[in-house]
């Protein structure tokens, strides 16, 4: 098993350095699909991370994958419930048992960060998050001007201990994947772009769009104030061996969600230095470019060779390869709709197109376009895996 692990790690890392391994690595970001395959519901794997870990291990043992995420469902609603977070729709409480958890963005009026709070965020982001943001996003945490409560105190105790318990469980999960199936843990560490965080968890997308017009300087200053913290968090979770990448989950920082000027002057201006600093310290970043970021490929090409792995979601894989293939490893590009509604033959045909078109010289990792939820068909995941293993030999 250890030899298999070493072969897979070498294959995966070689491809990520945009070089040619022995075979095309397979690294599917399978989320609720693992529940479906292992006989669990979405509720099971979302609310009990041990079941989520079991489901991943079962898939890793049954499919010939080089790398997977220890738990791609990731948001453990046991933890979010312990803290009292109110922005999740939880399977079995807010949504059906076999629907994946949902993120609920509040209305503009109910945004977690008010429009007149930019200066407080800019002055001390950590203090702002604890003192203002957390009481707003939690049903249990008391605001600074409120009397404290039993629920408030328990939120910090249970939340802190639950988070530590969860994070500490990823080490054994990685070891389990390694020893049971010879599978590599695909990623380590999290990054989000400053502007994405402002939209996702603070001002909301509509609030942020208004702010970009009405108080642009404050938005820029807020993004700049978040930069050192986002860098620190990314590095603190990174792989000490510098094999697997930190992942940035890219949301609504592209055209047409924001303008080209806002992308260049704010989104990219405050993200690019973080990526460069991470690379200077020897870590790659996996650009999980959710949606279609083709409009910005020229900007991404400014980054140092090999510094990122570019994941293709809705974009044209062949255009991405033409623009970035010489510089960076690419991953993904296999449409989720095909995995959900297509036939195994159609999946094999598309995998062939990807391997021939963007993987012929190495520097490509087979994966779906977006995370695979429980609508992915088992036979199609099997077709993707077996075809790539057989055909994707250099």
């Amino acid at each position: 098993m250890e030899q298999l692990y070493a072969e897979r790690l070498k294959r995966y890392v070689t491809a990520m350095r945009n070089e040619k391994p022995d075979k095309v690595p397979i690294r599917p970001f399978v989320a609720e699909f693992t529940a479906k395959y292992a006989g669990y519901t979405c509720q099971d794997v979302t609310h009990d991370y041990e079941k989520a870990f079991d489901a991943v291990c079962k898939c890793a043992a049954d499919f010939d994958w080089d790398a997977v995420v220890g738990n791609m469902v990731y948001v453990w609603t046991g933890l979010t419930q312990a803290i009292g977070l109110k922005y999740y729709a939880v399977p079995g409480i807010d949504i059906p048992v076999d629907t994946g958890f949902q993120y609920l963005e509040p209305s503009e009026e109910e945004a977690f960060m008010r429009v007149d709070e930019y200066d407080a965020l800019i002055e001390d982001p950590t203090g702002y998050l604890f003192n203002v943001w957390l009481p707003r996003v939690s049903d249990d945490v008391s605001a600074m001007d409120e009397t404290t409560s039993y629920r408030n105190n328990l939120s910090f105790l249970k939340g802190g201990m639950a988070m530590l318990s969860y994070f500490n469980a990823f080490g054994p999960q990685g070891e389990r994947l390694r020893t049971e199936s010879g599978t590599v843990s695909a990623i380590a560490g999290i990054l989000k772009a400053p502007l994405d965080i402002l939209a996702d968890k603070l001002r909301g997308y509509i609030g942020l769009c208004n702010d970009l017009l009405e108080r642009r300087d404050k938005v820029i200053a807020a993004c700049e104030s978040l930069m050192p913290h986002l860098l620190h968090v990314a590095l603190s979770g990174a792989d000490p061996d510098k094999n697997v990448p930190i992942t940035i989950w890219m949301h609504r920082g592209c055209v047409p969600f924001i303008s080209e000027i806002d992308f260049r002057e704010i989104y990219w201006a405050t993200l690019k230095p973080i990526i460069e600093e991470i690379w200077a310290r020897g870590h790659q970043v996996l650009f999980y470019a959710e949606g279609d970021w083709n409009h910005h490929l020229k900007s991404f090409a400014e980054l140092p060779d090999q510094s990122i792995i570019y994941h293709i979601d809705q974009a044209d894989p062949f255009e991405v390869h033409r623009m970035l293939g010489d510089k960076f490893c690419l991953s993904g590009g296999l449409p989720n709709v095909l995995l959900s509604f297509g036939t195994p033959d159609e999946v094999r045909d598309y995998c062939k197109k990807l391997i021939d078109g963007i993987g012929r010289d190495g520097g490509y990792i087979m994966d779906s376009s977006a995370i695979v939820q429980n609508d992915g068909k088992v036979e199609n995941i099997r077709a993707m895996t077996d075809f790539t293993r057989e055909y994707g030999v250099y």
Binding site: Y74, V75, W76, L79, T80, I83, L85, E123, D124, P125, T126, G127, L129, F130, W133, L134, V137, G159, G160, M163, L164, F167, I190, L191, K192, I197, K201, E224, S225, M227, P228, H229, L230, L231, H232, V233, S236, P273, E277
Partner: protein, 63 residues
């Protein structure tokens, strides 16, 4: 107290350095004169600060 800047100065100084919520210098003012190993108090204080820091930033980024 500030985060170090990169060579081209792209990272702004922060009021409290990343990884910390309440700086050791601030805590130190509350304490009587420390005898023995002063550094051990700062190290352990900052190690625990890092846990609180991780908590809130992971809430923001991951959960």
């Amino acid at each position: 107290m500030s985060e170090r800047q990169t060579q081209d100065g792209t990272f702004k100084e922060t009021k409290v350095k990343p990884g910390i919520c309440i700086p050791w210098d601030e805590k130190l003012k509350e304490l009587p004169e420390i005898s023995g190993d002063r550094d051990i108090f700062q190290k352990v204080w900052e190690d625990n600060e890092a846990l609180a820091y991780m908590y809130i930033w992971q809430c923001l980024l991951s959960f």
